[in-house]
């Protein structure tokens, strides 16, 4: 009886577990979709021309597009031929295939390609599939108001790298995205490295060194976690001006360092204090000083925590707009990507191809950072040290 009851319980547990696993997989899949779809859309859009972006969604980018083209008023030199006055010409760029056309906005698809439309006063118009037209009239059309042609045309998919060329090289909103990219790197890399260096030392001291007031210091760090940085922006800028740093890279490095330190110290200390006490005591018995324990033992073992904080801090400084607006100048050599994007939204708000290419340039680095460092987030470095 015990055995069968036990088996039932096991089955139930197993069944519930597989249900949970499914729920986890489904929600993971939903999250992946939520993230991948817009990113893919942005990527695809950034390679399309402005006309195509306006004409169809990015998911139709690889199919031939049937779309209504802008109305074209016929123009050209009148030629007398066979007693008729004729104007011939080409309406659209080569490669465009006319599916249907019309002469009024009410019925833009009234005629098939090659059909003859009778206009007022014996005037006839023919538009062929390749976009060539023939307008003929028994009388001269010199005084006539030329008809407009509305056409629905199929255009082949078109991809281009020009958007990237444009945004990276040419200054669209005061400076080029390429320049802004360099500026942002100049901000983000030191603003990531400096706080990690400082915080790692502080975290070791707060985790493993005995000194009076340690608990109080930890409490202060935790308290600083919840201080909104907006509170400090103006006083800090005034302070920077007072000590003569002013607006510039040094100022923003210090600002990002200060704003990032509480979280960095808190995260790293919590990680380091979780390292096995025996390992550190053993190093102490082996004769290592605190500095040697820190550099030889604790730092290598804390690498996952360092990497994860580095990812956070880098992404946060890369995407930051507010701190950059306050502590950096507005010159072309100092404006960061986020600031440049804001300006582009204002001056080129309708040019989606420009905006999407710029946006993709700005998310490229965070993507690279995340994918290259994410393996450190999951790797357990402690395996094997203790049973």
């Amino acid at each position: 009886m015990d055995a069968t009851a036990g088996k039932h319980v096991m089955d139930k547990i197993a069944g519930r577990k597989s249900g949970l696993v499914w729920a986890v997989h489904l929600s993971a899949f939903a999250l992946v979709l939520l993230w991948v779809v817009p990113t893919l859309g942005l990527l695809v859009s950034s390679f399309r021309t402005g006309d195509q972006i306006v004409g169809s969604g990015w998911w139709q980018a690889v199919s031939t597009q049937v779309q209504q083209l802008a109305a074209v008023r016929i123009a050209g030199e009148e030629v007398a031929r066979d007693g008729l006055f004729v104007i011939e010409g080409q309406l659209f760029a080569a490669g465009t295939e006319v599916n249907a056309w019309g002469t009024s906005s009410v019925q833009p698809e009234a005629y098939a390609p090659g059909a003859v439309a009778d206009l007022d006063g014996g005037v006839t118009l023919t538009v062929a599939a390749d976009g060539s037209f023939v307008l003929s009239s028994p009388a001269t059309m010199a005084d006539l108001r030329m008809p407009r042609v509305f056409a629905t045309a199929a255009t082949p998919p078109e991809f281009t790298l020009d958007n990237y060329g444009t945004v990276i090289a040419s200054p669209l909103a005061g400076q080029s995205i390429g320049q802004a990219f360099i500026n942002t790197l100049t901000v983000a890399i030191p603003a990531t490295i400096i706080p990690i260096l400082v915080a790692a030392f502080a975290a070791y001291a707060l985790a493993w060194m005995e000194f009076p007031g340690r608990a109080l210091l930890v409490a202060v760090v935790v308290g600083l976690l919840v201080v909104p940085l907006q509170l400090a922006l103006i006083p800090l800028l005034q302070f920077h001006n007072w000590i003569g740093i002013g607006k510039g890279y040094l100022g923003i490095w210090l600002a990002h360092t200060g704003f990032g330190l509480p979280l960095a110290i808190y995260l790293l200390r919590n990680y380091m204090i979780g390292l096995p006490r025996d390992i550190i005591e053993n190093a102490r018995v082996d004769g290592a000083t605190d500095f040697q324990i820190f550099t030889r033992i604790v730092l290598p073992l804390s690498f996952p925590a360092l990497a994860s904080f580095a990812i956070f801090q880098f992404l946060w400084t890369w995407n930051d707009l507010l701190v950059a607006l306050v502590f950096l100048g507005t010159g072309n050599d100092q404006q960061v990507l986020t600031g440049n994007l804001v300006n582009l939204m204002g001056s080129r708000g309708g040019d989606w191809e420009i905006l999407s290419a710029s946006a993709f340039v700005s998310i490229l680095v965070p993507l690279v950072v995340f994918f290259s460092l994410q393996r450190f987030l999951v790797r357990g470095l402690l395996a094997g040290s203790v049973k």
Partner: protein
């Protein structure tokens, strides 16, 4: 060469004294084992010797040099931790050479020391592996090897075998015994809660109880002449039976009338002042044997546990008292529910008054 001397050593956390009045002399070449129940302070005492815990009071010297405030690395000690505490990001070779590198030893010196230790512990094939690629027993050997390379005056072991399975534990225990034999001049202090380790490895055992030393002695001293009821019951398995009674006959052989009937004879001598003294009669399960007469004890066997080599008999206990246990040779499951009379040789019977053995008055 190292003599360790502890004089009145104590450890206090605030008002609470977890260790007090620790007086202990450890001679060069001894292997001292600290045993005691959980929380008795045996690991704390070891960590105080190592320098990982501050000594709150008293004095601790190694070779006559006061060590109270000397940092661990300068005490000439090496410690093997219960969890091994290997550096997980270093290979076996780097683990073993870490202390020597810190001490700025020359490269050839380091190589020689590591090679020698690896050879002793049969770790040579594993020198390039990370700890995670080793088995539990190999990790244990690396931890010991890390101590050996430093050539310390004193080895400290903090329950080094408790993470190993039973078979490996027995094998490693013998390895440690051989290691000790190979290094007759090194002093070792070994903490364990395992009696077998204590009895087999120790030159002398220190039994700790309630924050102080209950008895120090060779393993057989503790077994044959326990100083108090605590040591009597702590050493030996199953624990010694304690039966209350009153002294009725004195002389070279003392006679005690037990409260639940029966007379016990003990070779512990008593004088006329002891007549009428309330005592506990201590007799080990393995010293009890069947008898036809009245004997020390008579009762019904409640449970038998046949272990093959011996059979444990548990007698029905009288209202709240611990059951009397006897260990008889052979397989004796047939004795269940039978009433037996048991006796023991007078030389094997201990007497305790107020918890202290009458031998040590």
């Amino acid at each position: 060469m190292a003599d360790l001397v502890l004089r009145g050593v104590e450890k206090a956390y605030g008002e609470v004294k977890v260790l007090r009045d620790i007086d202990l002399d450890i001679k060069t070449g001894e292997l001292i084992v600290f045993v005691g129940p959980s929380g008795c302070g045996k690991s704390t005492l070891l960590r105080m010797i190592a320098g990982l815990e501050r000594i709150s009071g008293g004095e601790f010297t190694i070779d006559g040099v006061r060590m109270n405030d000397v940092p661990p690395a300068q005490r000439g000690i090496a410690m093997v931790f219960q969890s091994y505490a290997l550096y997980p990001h270093m290979t076996v070779h780097d683990n073993m050479s870490f202390a020597l590198k810190i001490a700025r030893k020359s490269r050839s010196e380091i190589a020689a020391a590591v090679d020698k230790a690896a050879r002793i512990l049969q770790l040579t094939p594993y020198l390039d592996r990370l700890p995670k690629a080793l088995s539990g027993g190999q990790r244990q050997r690396v931890a010991i090897g890390r101590s050996i390379v430093r050539d310390p005056k004193v080895y400290l072991f903090d329950e080094p075998l408790s993470n190993l399975d039973a078979a490996l534990r027995a094998a490693t225990r013998i390895e440690i015994a051989q290691l000790k034999e190979a290094m007759p001049n090194s002093t070792m202090v070994y903490v364990t809660h395992d009696q077998v380790e204590a009895m087999t490895l120790a030159t002398r055992i220190v039994v700790l109880a309630g924050g102080t030393i209950a008895q120090v002695g060779t393993p057989l001293e503790l077994y044959e002449r326990p100083q108090n009821e605590f040591v009597a019951q702590f050493i030996g398995s199953p624990a010694m039976n304690l039966l209350p009674g009153e002294i009725v006959g004195i002389g070279a052989e003392t006679i005690v009338r037990l409260d639940r009937g029966g007379l016990a004879r003990s070779a512990v001598p008593t004088t006329v002042v002891d007549k009428g003294l309330r005592v506990s009669v201590g007799v080990r399960p393995e010293h009890l044997r069947e008898t036809d007469g009245d004997g020390i004890f008579q009762g019904e066997v409640a449970i038998t546990e046949a272990l093959g080599e011996v059979t444990l008999l548990y007698f029905t206990a009288a209202d709240g008292a611990a059951p009397v246990v006897a260990k008889l040779p052979g397989i004796r499951s047939d004795l269940r529910h039978r009433t037996l009379a048991l006796t023991a040789d007078p030389e094997k019977v201990q007497l305790f008054a107020n918890g202290t053995s009458l031998l040590y008055r």
